[in-house]
């Protein structure tokens, strides 16, 4: 048994539903008790789906366990086909149904249904959401494209003269992090360099589309978590090579173009010469100087975490102080990536462990999932979301891909805006002693009355005793001070001096100084100690 307070990934059948819901013409009969129908709300509420996902839950009850759950399954399958007239029927079991051991695949096959039946074994007690999506997509591809596989050893037919190279775009699902816009963005990018998309799947594809996957010259795997197994099978069966670089950020997008061009046999020079993204210039502009060395903690699914770390380090000049994933299946890739930044990867699906590591790393910015957004909020650290699990906010009304050149623009905006802008930060530092420009002062445009009211008492003792304004980490996760350790005390002068530190970095200055004092065994923190700490820690 595993104690779980909160989970990054849902059960494997949620992954299966994400694939089914992304497609058209597929219906999924899920052998499951009534409560499992909660899954629908993920699609209708988070993604604002206008239709229920195409799932029939057999809704078996306790009293039926000993008698007729298999009959119930067959009735549900028959009714679903009659009502929805799908081109293919996906069948599987959720956790409880797996325990009662009805063979859904066998039952459905025995019904001699007029459409292809694709059974999927979801191993609910071993596997999770992304694995379920990967397995389901693989089984669908194998079942539907399988009949078109040429005999082994058949060479791939040459492209007709004048015909543009074609690829499949694989991996986008429902409830994927910006998958909707990524598919559009990468299809446009490919079109610009002279490549057509044969089929994009699962998102937007029908069973008939999957049947013609073999027509493409190669595959583009946008999200290996979902399309890895299918791409492997397509490579084996149709001899289609796969592009595995995920075009997240400028560098990766340029690599992606090179890789695609090689497989397509076209010249990428023109595409590489012109980069239609503002990120390169914005990152070079003087305002971005202050981004240099900002400490960033990255956590998410493997694809987004690895990609984000690369952008952070090589395109924005951040220092990657943490890199981790909840995707154990891709742990090796993340460990490899972490080595590039001289750190050890964090592989865990325990968010409390992630929270502890974030607190320990004291980053300036967290790039994570919605859970890290909560964690960062508690720690008072800016955060941008880069990965599933998704939230209604991750389905913006506007076009906001993560991949490709437009995706790079989106990354710049969404990661940089939570940080204070450079010029603003510079001015705040410059004027930090100004009588009108400290955190207790009301904005001057509100007039003298407001300013006076705000300037009133400000009892220095009370102010000094107040917790740091911005970056108070005294939450439940901050490491408790071990008994016996010296707890340094701030002198009144040092507290007063600390107030001269701009408020948005004061919490950090306080922490750094206290750590410095503890390390040196100082009982008191004096003004001298404050500046000693500053000199030692640097920025």
């Amino acid at each position: 048994m595993q104690l779980t307070l909160w989970t990054y990934e849902g059960p494997s059948h949620i992954g299966a539903i994400r694939v089914a819901a992304a497609m058209t013409g597929v219906h999924f009969v899920l052998h499951a008790p009534q409560g499992d129908s909660y899954a629908d709300l993920l699609f209708t509420m988070i993604e604002r789906g206008q239709k229920r996902p195409p799932v029939t839950y057999t809704s078996f009850q306790g009293r039926e366990l000993a008698t007729n759950t298999s009959e119930l399954f067959k009735t549900a399958a028959r009714d679903a086909i009659e009502r929805y007239k799908p081109q293919a029927l996906l069948v599987g079991s959720s956790c409880t149904a797996e325990l009662i051991q009805d063979d859904t695949g066998g039952l459905a096959r025995a019904m001699n249904l007029p459409i292809p039946v694709v059974p999927v074994e979801l191993s609910a007690f071993m596997r999770k959401e992304n694995w379920g999506a990967n397995e389901t997509f693989y089984q669908l591809v194998r079942a539907l494209a399988g009949p078109h596989v040429p005999p082994p050893g058949t060479p791939r037919p040459a492209r007709a003269p004048g015909q543009r190279p074609r690829c499949n775009l694989l991996g986008a699902t429902s409830l994927g992090f910006r998958h909707r816009d990524d598919v559009t963005e990468i299809a446009r990018l490919l079109d610009r360099i002279g490549i057509d998309v044969n089929v994009a799947a699962p998102l937007g594809a029908s069973p008939a589309d999957l049947a013609r996957l073999g027509d493409a010259d190669f595959n583009v795997v946008l999200y290996p978590e979902v399309a890895g197994a299918a791409a492997e099978w397509l490579k084996r069966s149709f001899g289609q090579p796969a592009v595995t670089t995920v075009p997240l950020g400028i560098g990766a997008t340029l690599d992606f173009i090179r890789e695609v061009a090689t497989l397509a046999g076209i010249d990428p020079a023109q595409a590489l010469a012109h980069v239609p993204s503002r990120l390169p210039w914005y990152s070079r502009s003087v305002d971005s100087n202050y981004l240099t060395g900002k400490r960033v903690f990255v956590f998410g699914d493997a694809t987004h975490a690895i990609g984000a770390a690369r952008v952070a380090a090589k395109e924005l000049g951040f220092t990657v102080v943490g890199l981790g994933t909840y995707s154990r299946e891709q742990a090796r890739d993340v460990r490899e990536a972490a080595k590039l930044y001289g750190i050890e990867a964090l592989i865990t699906d325990d968010y409390l462990e992630v929270e502890a590591k974030v607190a320990e790393a004291q980053p300036d910015l967290v790039l994570g999932t919605q859970m890290e957004r909560h964690v960062a909020k508690r720690l008072g650290v800016p955060c941008a979301v880069i990965s599933a699990p998704v939230h209604v906010q991750d389905f913006p009304a506007r076009y906001a891909p993560q991949l490709g050149f437009e995706g790079a623009n989106v990354l710049f905006d969404t990661w940089i805006h939570p940080l204070m802008m450079g010029l603003e930060e510079h001015l705040l530092t410059m004027f930090r002693h100004d009588f009108e420009f400290h955190e207790e002062a009301a904005p001057s445009h509100l007039g003298r009355g407001a300013a006076q009211a705000a300037e009133r008492p400000a009892d220095p003792v009370a102010v000094a005793a107040a917790p740091a304004v911005v970056t108070d980490t005294s939450g439940p996760v901050s490491a408790p001070v071990a008994t016996g350790e010296i707890v340094p005390v701030w002198t009144a002068d040092a507290e007063k001096e600390l107030l001269k530190v701009p408020f948005f970095v004061r919490g950090k200055a306080r922490r750094n100084t206290e750590r410095f004092a503890r390390e040196r065994g100082l009982a008191q923190i004096t003004v001298e100690a404050l500046y000693d700490a500053k000199a030692n820690v640097g920025r």
């Binding site: 104690l3 989970t7 009534q34 409560g35 129908s37 306790g62 366990l65 009502r83 325990l99």
Partner: protein
């Protein structure tokens, strides 16, 4: 007036409802020193966090002990694993005074005996912690029945009321603090001095029960809890539920009659509050009167809500669905429904959707899985779950309750320049 048995449509098919684990979302906020440990699968964990929505706390007081392959394959002893998890959990959370081991569909199918586990753990690790088992399994319980199961499991732990201490009133069912306060003031105004609420906010404040206890249910879904309290000698008084001005008055009246409160006093205490409630309802009557409403089954409070909306706001009832119709608990409500109201019990989702579309209702009360698809079809909806997370009982919430139904309609009347959806 009054609905009889012949009008009930009993359905069996695909369901679109939560299981009994979902009430953990509000129960853990109610009993503030309790921890709910579901013994189940990743699905259970995901369900609760999805139902809880944004309510992700630093470290919530609910969790799932996820059964894994090795527990099933016999490579690990599930009981030993559970003991290990509970021990670790209680070490980590010394603030926890009551631990609920919550059964689930998978724990039931593999016949993990959690009653036995609770007893064992009480003996081994449970110093200062009460460990109680109930089942929230969707195989047996639908949504709010989880609260019934939880409270039923607590009944044996209630202290015996002292003999000769006098009669007391026990209000049963989770209510918002603000509602409890209002009801308490009214009941005290009636001269009923010994009023207790169950579940309590703190697990060491369990209310006593005995032959002098009068039980009044705040929700219709607590039939088993009521029976268990009766088995401990308590007397249950039957009443409509305290939704709307009329419902609240009749609910209070049942208490007043049980305690022999004079009619004049009852009138004097309740009339001002009832008048205030009616005034608040007047504001929404124009919007709601004559509008047709369709209830999908959810928490069993559909029938009291339908009674309120039809009698106090003039709404027309197309269909009132309920996951489970407990005739005994709901009899006073059924008597107030317009005769011939179409009631349905259980669910066959697709057929119910067909009936709903054919009815062309103005408003559909349904779960979150159905709401946006209905809106996309042009049918206004009210999320049923909000009716459980919002304080709606009592006189001073009657207006708020009406507003919940009026808002979707009002919103539509404002959005006059939107293009069709794409």
């Amino acid at each position: 007036m009054g609905c009889d048995d012949s009008a009930v449509l009993r359905e069996r098919g695909q369901r679109e409802v939560f299981c009994g684990l979902a009430p953990i979302v509000w129960l853990h906020r109610k009993i503030q020193d309790a921890f709910f440990l579901v013994v189940g699968s990743r699905t259970c964990a995901h369900l609760i966090q999805s139902a809880a929505g944004v309510m992700i706390f630093a470290e919530p007081r609910f969790a799932t002990a996820i059964i894994e392959e090795r527990d099933l394959a016999g490579r690990a002893d599930a009981n030993a694993e559970l003991d290990r998890i509970v021990t670790r959990l209680l070490e980590r959370r010394p603030d926890i005074k009551m631990l609920f081991l919550v059964g689930s569909c998978p724990s039931e199918v593999i016949k993990l005996d959690l009653d036995l586990a609770a007893d064992r753990l009480m003996r081994t690790v449970g110093t200062g912690v009460r460990i109680v088992h109930f089942s929230g399994s969707g195989l047996e319980t639908t949504f709010s029945q989880g609260e019934d199961a939880c409270l039923t499991a607590l009944v044996p732990h209630l202290p015996a009321a002292e003999a000769g201490a006098g009669r007391s009133l026990l209000v049963v069912g989770s209510l918002a603090e603000v509602v409890e306060g209002q009801l308490q003031r009214l009941l005290e105004g009636l001269g009923i001095e010994r009023v207790r609420f169950f579940p309590p906010r703190s697990s060491d404040d369990l209310p006593p029960v005995g032959p002098d206890t009068v039980v009044l249910l705040a929700h219709p879904f607590l039939a088993t809890t009521a029976r268990s309290l009766e088995a401990r000698g308590a007397t249950r008084v039957s009443a409509p539920f305290p939704l709307g001005a009329e419902g609240t008055t009749l609910w209070l009246k049942a208490a007043a009659d049980a305690f022999g409160v004079a009619p004049e006093r009852f009138e004097a205490v309740t009339a001002p509050a009832a008048a205030r409630a009616k005034m608040a309802l007047d504001r929404y009557r124009e919007e709601l009167s004559g509008k047709k409403i369709f209830f999908f089954p959810d928490s069993q409070i559909e029938i009291p809500l339908a009674r309120f909306l039809s009698r106090e706001l003039g709404m027309e009832l197309a269909e009132v669905g309920t996951p489970y119709l407990n005739r005994q608990m709901i009899a006073p409500e059924l008597a107030l429904l317009p005769s011939g109201t179409r009631l349905s019990e259980g669910q066959d989702l697709e057929r119910q959707l067909d009936r709903c579309r054919a009815d062309h209702p103005d408003l559909v009360v349904c779960g979150l899985g159905l709401a946006n698809p209905f809106e996309a079809e042009g049918i206004a909806t009210k999320w049923s779950i909000e009716l459980l997370f919002t304080p709606i009982q009592g006189y001073d919430q009657a207006g708020d309750l009406a507003e919940l139904f009026a808002r979707p309609l009002l919103r539509r009347s404002r959005l006059v320049e939107l293009a069709p959806c794409n």
